[in-house]
């Protein structure tokens, strides 16, 4: 039944789209990044106006301390989830289950630690975290299996785990908020390496490693080709099934790592609220970063900017003192404004004209490649 429903879409849309998409990418990838960066700068300026000390960074107990450090630290989970989401979306898929997977990861790790005889030991934290990531690997395999082998639409396939996963996390924690006292685990979110938040270091390392693997090998291009047309890619010799499967596993692992950081942040897991709606934040970060929801092109650097933007936006709400009731409205307005800024058509309509860069013809492809 799903097959008959899905068939028309792949055969209908990819015909005309790949060529213009390619051209769009070549011309706009670097420019596209300009808008989210600009929006981020505007947001930071707003914060400085509201709180002049917003850029202050001081050394506190031997580590950096200040609003910007908080933002760097708090954006780690969204950044990780969005990183996994970027590759999934590049294959024209979507992963709605990341929030639930994050909750499961936090639950598995915390329950392991709380039940252990040596609750505070580093080894206990390590075993807990690796068990959690192993579980996430399995969950990612499950998502990938449903999408790539069974052929269920990604939005439905991952919806299964989005709904069921939180129940699973509840079962693991027995519906309780589980608190753990383990300094090693807590350091994952609150600790510092050379005065820099460990969570940020972890997130940036994973992002850099992924960017390296994806862009310094052909993998990134293969992912994009699958996103543009899985069938044509397969006929051209690309193992599209394996690639699709892999990106869901990767997304699951990223979500798991994010879940561990969120749980470590408060040294506790609440299966109900951990990572709630993080899938939406992640998708937003991906879109703001210039990755097309239609698949076929992605920008990891853009996603990083998007994730930092969203975290800054959350911070802005509190910093500027937007009343709780208007919270979501404010966020929505800002996001809509950024999306409009990014749309060439909307910009033309608003007559926001910019001077054309001189020769963007050949260079951007490689730059986009790095991004």
């Amino acid at each position: 039944m799903t097959d008959t429903l899905t068939r028309p879409t792949p055969s209908g849309s990819p015909g005309p789209s790949p060529a213009p998409q390619r051209r769009l990418r070549a011309s706009s990838s670097t420019k596209a990044l300009l808008w989210p960066v600009l929006a981020l700068v505007v947001l930071l300026v707003v914060n400085v106006v509201a709180t002049p000390s917003f850029f202050d960074i001081r050394l506190q107990d031997g580590h950096l301390f200040g609003p910007l450090v908080d933002i760097a630290r708090n954006s780690a989970p969204v950044m990780l989830v969005a990183l996994g989401m970027t590759l999934v979306i590049a294959t024209r898929g979507i992963d709605l289950s990341v929030g639930a997977i994050a909750a499961i990861a936090g639950a598995v790790a915390c329950v392991h630690m709380a039940g252990s005889s040596a609750e505070g030991a580093f080894a206990t934290a390590a075993v807990g975290c690796f068990t959690a990531l192993a579980v996430c690997l399995v969950l990612g395999l499950w998502n990938g299996f449903l999408v790539s082998v069974v052929g269920i639409q990604p939005i439905i396939a991952t919806l299964v785990l989005m709904v069921a996963g939180r129940g699973l996390a509840q079962l693991i924690t027995d519906g309780q908020i589980t608190t753990v006292n383990n300094d090693s685990f807590s350091n994952l979110a609150s600790g510092f390496v050379l005065a820099v938040p460990l969570a940020t270091v972890v997130a940036v390392a994973v992002v850099a490693l992924t960017a390296l693997v994806v862009r310094r090998t052909a993998l990134g291009m293969l992912v994009e080709s699958v996103g543009i047309n899985p069938e044509a890619s397969r006929l051209a010799g690309v193992r599209s099934r394996t690639i699709i499967w892999t990106v869901y596993v990767f997304s699951g692992l990223c979500a798991g790592l994010a879940g561990l950081i969120i749980a470590a942040n408060t040294r506790s897991v609440n299966a109900n609220s951990l990572g709630l709606f993080i899938e939406l934040d992640a998708i937003l970060a991906v879109v703001i970063g210039g990755t097309s929801l239609a698949g076929g092109r992605f920008s990891i650097l853009g996603t990083v900017v998007g994730a930092v933007f969203i975290t800054t936006l959350t911070r802005t709400v509190v910093n500027v003192g937007i009343p709780s009731e208007a919270n979501y409205l404010f966020k929505a307005l800002v996001v809509v404004a950024v999306c409009l800024l990014q749309s060439p058509r909307a910009r033309a309509a608003f007559r926001v004209r910019r001077v054309r860069p001189a020769a963007p013809t050949s260079a951007p492809t490689s730059k986009a490649g790095l991004a």
Binding site: L5, T6, P8, T9, G12, S13, A50, T51, S53, F54, Q60, D61, F65, G66, P67, D70, N74, R92, Q153, I155, I156, L159, G167, Q170, D174, G175, Q176, I177, T179, S190, I262, N265, T266, R267, S268, N270, N272, S273, L274, L293, A294, T314, R315, V317, V318, N319, G321, P323, S324, E325, N327
Partner: protein, 334 residues
Amino acid sequence: MVKKTLIAATAISLSAMALTACGSDSDSSAGADGDSGNGSITMGFAQVGAESGWRSANTKSIEDSAKEAGIDLKFSDAQQKQENQIKAIRSYIQQKVDVIAFSPVVETGWDTVLQEAKRANIPVILTDRAVDSEDTSLYKTFLGSDFVEEGQKAGQWLVDNAADSDVDGDGDIDVVQLEGTTGAAPAIDRGEGFADAISADPKISVIASQTGDFTRDGGKQVMESFLQSEKGIDVVFAHNDDMGLGAIEAIKAAGLTPGKDIKIITVDAVKDGMTALAAGEINYIVECNPLLGPQLMDLAEKVVAGEDVPERVVTEETTFDQEQAAEALPTREY
């Protein structure tokens, strides 16, 4: 993509419709009293879910006290969904239980199913949360906390301890408030009660207020921001323990001592909160008591026996300062 999303959305809404349709055609109007004969009372209880430690304690209290009172309890967990709760209540009506009790997930949309219960002559007791209905004859009584009073108690403590609470010594007591989920009754009422109580002392004022969604992570992030943007914070008032616990983490990270450099007042008194209170990191907790089982069973027996009960019964609740917490902690059930 748009097409796909549309198809998906349709599929989801179709299945949702199918789900609700399942429960909609059971219209029972058996008026007779369905006693099981041996004189014992059967109660159908539709719980919200198991979303927090508080709720789990609430469930356990109801189950335990039902057993103790010899009441036959039929229990269902709605997993935070109104349609599940309505389904459960309808099935209790069909099973002809003696009394139905439930904690409504949301405030509105209960009139139809409560009418059905009324027609079947089954009395209904609300616990913990109220419903928003014009027709108060649809339920016998509402047993639950008075959230406004909880906020007032928190504010009253601050007024009474104003002398010690001006931590930075500038003559004003600057309070930051961590609100619960926007629009939730406990968040609105606790905020109101607190504002009401502190208006007695012009030195005390709330300088910033933002929602932390009742979660530790939310409380921590909002507090991180307050610590940077607000000058001279003396007191934190958190609408629940969890946000207060998050705020403690943020205060520690800023190199301050929670409970001393910044006073903390919270509501709930769950075990983690009490532990922090006993350790001196929180200064005062207003209890929001989940252990309403014994009171509920008492009310149920009266209602079934046809006795008059008050329309509103407030749960027995207390408050804790640091010494009381240390005493109460060893025997704390939740």
